[in-house]
Subunit: 314 residues, 2 copies
Amino acid sequence: MNTLTDIQTAAEILRGVAHVTPVLTSRTLNQCAGATVFLKCENFQRVGAFKFRGAYHAIATLPSPQQAGPIVTISSGNHAQGVALACQLRGLAAHIVMTKPINPLKRQAVMDYRATIHEVADGEQAERTLRDLQEQLNGVYIHAFNNPRVIAGQGTAMLELLSVVPDLDVVLAPVGGGGLLSGTCIAAHGVNPSIAVYACEPIGALDAVHSVRENRIVPMTTPRTIAEGLRTSLGDVTLPILRNHLAGFFPVEEKEIVEAMRFAFERLKIVVEPSGAVALAPLLRCEETLIGKRVGVIITGGNVDLSSFFATLS
Amino acid sequence: MNTLTDIQTAAEILRGVAHVTPVLTSRTLNQCAGATVFLKCENFQRVGAFKFRGAYHAIATLPSPQQAGPIVTISSGNHAQGVALACQLRGLAAHIVMTKPINPLKRQAVMDYRATIHEVADGEQAERTLRDLQEQLNGVYIHAFNNPRVIAGQGTAMLELLSVVPDLDVVLAPVGGGGLLSGTCIAAHGVNPSIAVYACEPIGALDAVHSVRENRIVPMTTPRTIAEGLRTSLGDVTLPILRNHLAGFFPVEEKEIVEAMRFAFERLKIVVEPSGAVALAPLLRCEETLIGKRVGVIITGGNVDLSSFFATLS
């Protein structure tokens, strides 16, 4: 189980490698929400999302015998880019298993970082390809979230936010597999146990709330949300952390995600991908729990290409 | 003539009122430009643009007998919002003369700040309406740029940038009427006379370069650029400042403005209005003068509504 010390150590390893992303504030947002809000803008992180933190930390701290083989992972999203860039920086080969259809911009980004892409048709084939790569190439698997070193890396974003704004009452973060949220919980409560951490989850992929309530991984088999990054189920590493730490959940509707993206564009002047907008939504509907509070929000990423952005918002 | 001291005094007056906007960096941009770039993000300023700085400073420092009447100005753009908010904060009435067609979002913003809008058909009627308001209401005219106290306010953005990055070689800013650029020149050279300040101007409204060369105000009568904020001519206050300070001009094509807006969205994850994108363009075409330099850029504003953004970029 991760501790604050693990996250502090990860922050040392990421120093000078990951961006210390800015914390933005907005009077308009504060007025809308009736709260004082601090946005930790991981859309300005390398590869455009927090995922670089966890991927780099996990890869940089591999025990050396494991480094014989290349790094392998399954991801069609930001984790793919995070792993690809981390491997390039560490001088390691990367093999990324991506399920079709692959976003052309994301494919290009992964290729620009010199990673090898293995295209597959579905999740089952992805698992099989991953196993083959592990066996044939002696590949080292870096899971996107169910990995304590990945979690420790993701937690560094919260640590940075608290170094700028120590006196937060509440923290909001989206939940997909729970890697960012687990790191966020451990960092927040390591620094100040009284911070209430809430998970924001699309109603179209509402598995984490049930998993935490039932204390078993309720799989998300038919996600229906534009928030691509939040379609996954929890893992056996992240579930117990979330059970121990979360104050609660805010389910978010699809139209609220779109409205939060629009608000970010028009009022905050930042580009936020759907998954990132999920944690803004409870503030924009003036969630009662948040009124009068000092609220930190992890804006997880900004990787949305112009054409899907237009299609989503028009 | 303004001095560094005027800008330092303006910074004191703006403390706690204007945002100290963040300075963003991007490895992708640095790689594209072959330079080390620091973006002073005034798109995150109150009202979404640097204009609030100058308007507030000019209004807050009016000699008290003048404050008998309301504030009056001509502006259909960010200066209108800057004046309207500044007046609301100072408890003064504001009358804004706006030439049709008026962007509905900008009209709404000005009305939200409780300013009175006077709609006119053209520039001539605008001047007449302004004179009427000055005479009938004893109105105090705050010009959008040809005003030393406005210029001193605009210069505070540069002062903030230099407090974060003191060792800049070059500064880029767009030029319309020259208010921001004049303040930027005085601040930059007051702190470090060896900084080379360049004006970035749309080729479709290329009057400042001629005005500075010929040392007379060459009027811009037929501007053809999407950069609304840069369609104006210089004034008799700004022209001599620019002549004294500028290292040169970078003319920018319309398609470069659009590409810079796209780059800002896709790679920097920020929303930049056309006028703001003009100062990014020379970096994206790898302007030789900038290679290997430490370059500061004023990103002037982010007020572009979604529909015009879509229309411009698609």
